[in-house]
Amino acid sequence: MRRSVARIGTIALNTFREAVRDRVLYNLIVFTALVVGCSLLVGQVSLAIERIVLVNLGLTSISLFGIVIAILLGIGLVSKEMEKRTLYTVVAARPVRRWEFILGKWLGLVGTLTVNAAMMSAAFFGALLLLAHHLNRGDLGLVVAIYFILLQYVLMTSLALLFSTFSSPLLSAVFSFCMFIIGSFADDLRGFALMAHGPARWVGLGLSYVVPNFASLNVITQVAHSVPVGGHLVLLETVYVLLYAGAVVSCAVLVFEHRNMK
């Protein structure tokens, strides 16, 4: 077991290093420029709501930047390794089991996104300080919102990884993006289903529970208006994401375990 953990850690570290050296974190420069620029701009043009505007814009950007990176890197996690045949020397002649490889790649990307989110958050809080000149206890809700965004990354990475095990990068990108869009409207889908009758109601309801619920992980508007997020919701969402991501990564392992690497 200790050896497995060491191998998974080695693969995760390599995945992180690859992302850093491929200049993925350069997106931080764009993000920082965007958030700081906007903070200066809204400080000039809005009256009283400049904090709300900045929180909405900053957190939405953290969410979208991370999701895009999760999709772009996630879709190549396995397929790129197969295409370039880099995994031949990892799983063929090393005591690395296929599930260890998948788990290592997944952890590496989640780690990359976490570091990315931490840096974007630092830039965001810097911009907030620039605008409001101080932070208060109510801003703790912003940390919860960022934690929820991290949970979104975990979901997205798992889905992109799953698609990457059986499909081309282009198709994986399309599938992942569609899942994000549908998942962002999961609550609306459930609402429509409840209004429908007959089989449509059950199909709609079933679908709304099967798709990843990105909507429930979006508390940006709530925290922008300083409405606190309950501790039970944090716990519930954490358990939900862990279970959902666990199921998706298990599917990825299952597919990869039986895949011929031509």
Binding site: T10, D22, K84, R85, T86, P95, V96, M261
Partner: protein, 313 residues
């Protein structure tokens, strides 16, 4: 103990987009490679060499049959710790430097952390890459990548090595160095199983060769025995062109350079040819039996019937 054993190992792929049809890449293959030998897997492109290697490496799953390496199952991690693999035209993580890549593979192979740096330095020196240890692999030439490929295959000091077309893409000097390295590794007691279609490499390195064609094992031969075999032809060398027509009539293929003539003819015509030379007053220089080369053997097996499976005690 056999280092590699296959029992009716077979692979059929499904090809086509809509109507999938089967394509047999490897017909049932039964063979055994003994520990300590250099075993060459010969065949033209598309013969099934790479498929066999991928099956043995657990990259693809057999349609039927099975195989054992070092007397263990193909997915046994303990066995994998003892083997090294160089794929054809290897490609590695190009964001890493040569030293980082080898550290990465050493870690995955479970090399003791206290040993790791020493092993990496040793293999880098062995493949002549110590100067480029801190250069990212994206800046490497094909030949340099091949050297790093060898280094990653031996960094954990395996007992058994699998090389898929190890000489492909190398210049003559690189090929020579690779041959020398493979010889050294074998002298250290490592078993080497390698696929190639370059027969001269196989001839100089291998103890035994298997010929594969269209996914079918055609024969397994001992290189030393093949080299001892004679072809039933003799080569005559003499001075004087006067005997040329007489030798040609006897079925000799003649080639004259000024006054010196070289002819290859059936062994049964040798006496008559010597009489003809004497009659025309020519001076005989040499008579040599023509030996079978690996190339002759290889070509003859490509058109021969498939080999019977090896019988083991």
């Amino acid at each position: 103990m056999a280092a590699i054993e296959t029992f009716g190992l077979e692979k059929t792929y499904k090809v086509g987009f809509w109507r999938k049809r089967p394509r047999r890449a490897l017909k049932p293959l039964t063979l055994a490679v003994e520990e300590g030998e250099v075993f060459g897997f010969l065949g033209p492109n598309g013969a099934g060499k790479t498929t066999t290697l991928r099956l043995l490496m657990g990259l693809v799953f057999p349609t039927s049959g099975s195989a054992r390496i070092l007397d263990r199952e193909l997915d046994d991690p303990e066995m994998k710790r003892q083997i090294g693999f160089l794929p054809e035209q290897p490609y590695f993580y190009d964001h890493l430097t040569a030293a980082e890549l080898l550290h990465y593979y050493a870690r995955l192979s479970g090399v003791d952390p206290r040993e790791r740096s020493r092993r990496v330095d040793k293999v880098l020196a062995r493949v002549g890459m110590e100067e480029h240890r801190n250069l990212q692999l994206r800046k490497f030439s094909k030949g340099m990548l091949q050297r790093v490929g060898i280094a990653q295959a031996i960094v954990h000091e395996p007992r058994l090595l699998f090389f898929d077309e190890p000489m492909s893409g190398l210049d003559p000097i690189g090929r020579r160095e690779m041959r020398d390295l493979m010889q050294e590794l074998n002298e250290e007691g490592k078993t080497i199983f390698f696929s190639t279609h370059i027969l001269s490499d196989a001839e100089s390195l291998c103890d035994r060769v298997a010929v594969l064609h269209e996914g079918e094992l055609r024969d397994i031969g001992v290189v030393a025995d093949i080299a001892r075999e004679v072809s039933g032809q003799v080569e005559l060398l003499w001075n004087g062109v006067a005997a040329l027509p007489a030798i040609s009539v006897l079925g000799g293929k003649c080639h004259a350079t000024r006054d010196t003539v070289r002819a290859v003819l059936p062994e049964r015509s040798l006496d008559a040819a010597l009489d003809a030379l004497r009659a025309k007053g020519c001076r005989l220089i040499s008579v040599t039996p023509v030996r079978i080369t690996l190339e002759d053997y290889f070509l003859s097996k490509l058109h021969a019937k498939p080999a019977e499976p090896e019988v083991r005690a």
